[in-house]
Symmetry: C2
Subunit: 434 residues, 2 copies
């Protein structure tokens, strides 16, 4: 029986979740891997703090780097997060010839190319199922389950905080500020929530998904990153009326000229499964040229769900260790085979749009708006008008056809200059996910 000795760096929620899965399902794991899996050491921040999980038989240290070089560690499981010390731990582990499993999306998005190239040179594995969409095995689905496909696009709800907030804001009387406060109270949002609600977290995950899907280097360069702060309860209600839900999506789509890469809040038709993924749940849709569209959903965070992904990686690494070979490149293809497809500038993005205008309730206003859109080659797919009594105005809501963002932005500039506006133009993208 191949012996596999793990060194876990970080015993927070995910670290403890991983430990408890390794213990509770130990006999299953032995059957499934043919390996004897043991945690020999774990690094924690403060040795004196009472542990929230059972660490019996595990050597605890407060020196993360020492785990990366420990003689009794074959696989370093990096669960400390961040792009500081974690990068040193992972680099040192790879240099020491150890395999690495990580849940750290920021590390991969920002230092992944260097670290994965180093791992390839050293002949060790880097596995990162837990870095995107928590417990959903979406990296495996992309890399292996859809290995026969050229991927056309990926679109996912990959930040649970945003999804929770948008779900709550759809309930009567809930607007952004109170919902954020509630999310913070529940522990779904940080005291400093920007990392989630401004789309940073999702952008890290999207960089990883795009790399695995398209074989491009890990990078957020050129990515359009928008959060959910521009979404109002009004827009959610209008979207609902039009048959849509507003979701915060990470989208990577291959076009002839390059790749669209964007994190944004968009209207999604309610008829799509993705629109019905609510609360803190995550889901990723993947469209391949053979299989068509598939969807993977589940818990995107939490100790046990994320631990489930970490343990799936541990199983894969064990099986590969049994053969003494690296079975698949970390991104599905070798680093030298990555192709730096251009990331399209935002002006080249092709999508449909939602527009909400509060205008003077006077004849001729709609004619002016239509003229602006027509001039930019934008057609109106659907329109709703309703008195906006609060502003003694008319609320006008439009859905456009799919156009290039440059054309839309031109139209937006002109619309924003109209003298008939009672408030700034609100707009969002509309994703048909087809």
């Amino acid at each position: 029986m191949t012996s596999v000795r793990l060194g876990i760096v970080g015993l927070g929620t995910v670290g403890c979740g991983t430990l408890s899965i390794l213990r509770d399902n130990a006999s299953l794991l032995a059957q499934r891997t043919g390996c004897d899996i043991r945690v020999s050491t774990a690094a924690v921040r403060d040795l004196s703090r009472p542990r929230t999980c059972d660490t019996q038989g595990i050597r605890l240290v407060n020196t993360p780097l020492s785990v990366a070089t420990a003689a009794d560690v074959d696989v370093v499981v990096e669960l400390m997060g961040g792009t500081g010390l974690a990068v040193d731990v992972v680099r040192t582990a790879i240099e020491a010839g150890k395999h690495v499993i990580t849940a750290n999306k920021a590390l991969l998005a920002e230092h992944g190319n260097e670290l994965l190239a180093l791992a390839e040179a050293k002949g060790v594995m880097v596995a990162f199922e837990a870095s995107v969409a928590g417990g959903i095995p979406v990296i495996k689905a992309l890399k292996e389950g859809m290995a026969g496909n050229a991927i056309n696009w990926v679109a996912g709800i990959i930040n649970g905080t945003c999804n929770y907030m948008l779900t709550e804001m759809a309930k009567p009387g809930n607007d952004f500020a109170p919902v954020l406060k509630e999310a913070q109270r529940l522990g779904y949002a940080e005291a400093e929530p920007s990392f989630d609600i401004d789309g940073i977290d999702a952008s890290h995950k999207l960089a990883i998904l795009a790399s695995v899907a398209f074989g491009v280097p890990l990078s957020r360069q050129g990515m359009l990153i928008e959060g959910i702060t521009m979404v109002t309860a009004d827009d959610i209600a209008w979207a609902d009326d039009l048959g849509y839900k507003i979701k915060s999506l990470g989208i990577a789509r291959r076009r002839e000229a390059g790749i669209e890469l964007r994190v944004q809040s968009a209207l999604v038709p309610k008829s799509k499964l993705l629109a019905n993924v609510d609360d803190v749940m995550n889901a990723v849709m993947v469209n391949g040229n053979a299989v068509g569209t598939t969807l993977y959903s589940g818990a995107g965070a939490g100790g046990l769900p994320t631990g489930s992904a970490v343990v799936a990686d541990i199983v894969d690494v064990c099986i590969a260790m049994r053969t003494g070979q690296v079975l698949r490149p970390a991104l599905g293809i070798a680093m030298k085979d990555l192709s730096p497809l251009p990331i399209l500038p935002s002006s080249e993005i092709q999508t449909a749009y939602y527009l909400r205008l509060s205008v003077t309730d006077a004849p001729g206003v709609l004619a002016k708006i239509s003229a602006v859109l027509a001039h930019e080659g934008i057609s109106i797919e659907e329109m709703r008008q309703q008195p906006d009594s609060a502003r003694s105005a008319a609320a006008l809501v439009l859905l456009t056809n799919v156009v290039k963002e440059a054309a839309f932005m031109n139209a937006l500039t002109q619309l924003s200059a109209l003298t008939d506006l009672k408030s700034p133009v609100a707009w969002l993208r509309v994703e048909h996910l087809a």
Copy 2:
């Protein structure tokens, strides 16, 4: 570069889909596997028939068994279906030391234990991602993505014909017979539709899912197999009114005393993603003790989607061949480790129920019905009553709590004996998927 030579048995829809993927995505596949994949031979039924796919460079034969022993074949891809000659082909291939990839659920459900044990003894692989839910990589998700979990239950829409028909029957004015005719016209149902609508096809797939999920031998013995023929448009409308959709599900659930294994039409809360998987789409929900509930959806049939799953298996087999080792047992654990957990008799099933009764509109009838249910320990969770003018009666619809099927069947017998009934009692199970 490891050379991998495929012999494909059967060039129907899936065989041609597989061939076209291997051609169209050839360079991607070489990058992803590090193998040189070639189709050296293919068996077809009739050599003189014009081919619907490009077979240039492939030796065509009409002797399936010869592919299983051909010197220039490393991997036999069995896509002919059925449990006749296909079994001989697969057995012969394994005996000849060749790996096997198959999309044949009937073969696995009925001969899988013997064939997989033989493969294990011979040190060859048998891969079968395409046998369940077409292009959705659900076997991989269960076996590998959720390898860290003990599986609690699996519930899936795994027959596209049934799902199409139930989706259509939800549209006004559509009842069973005309919808079946339309499904046959569209090629979604066979002229002899029993295999799909009576649940046989789903039962084969469920046997496979249960084996991979729970590590039990492949078997349909003791499985409760019901189709969709008892579902009426009336029931679909009532279910809708109560917040449910009716879906044909394959369910495998671990209980203390054994495993529930059943194919049946059941009410599913609309709030569940699974309820929103419509038309010919498939989806499988899996609940694991670490990750919680995940869902995998996509196309369950068709040449390219199913071919996508076949090619994913080809990739896995290539990578394993590179190492010269079988990486994982076919069912996730070795055949000797399978545990023959008992399949619970239907009387032991625990679920909720939907009841529809057409009763005399007279005082005291509801009291009698409630008394019968109460006597069996069944409580009413929800009730609707409505005049049934066609029968000058009252339509009464009930949802019960979760009870053992034995109790429900006792109640049903007593309810069916009531003199106040205007028509036989209609009933279905209700699955909360929790």
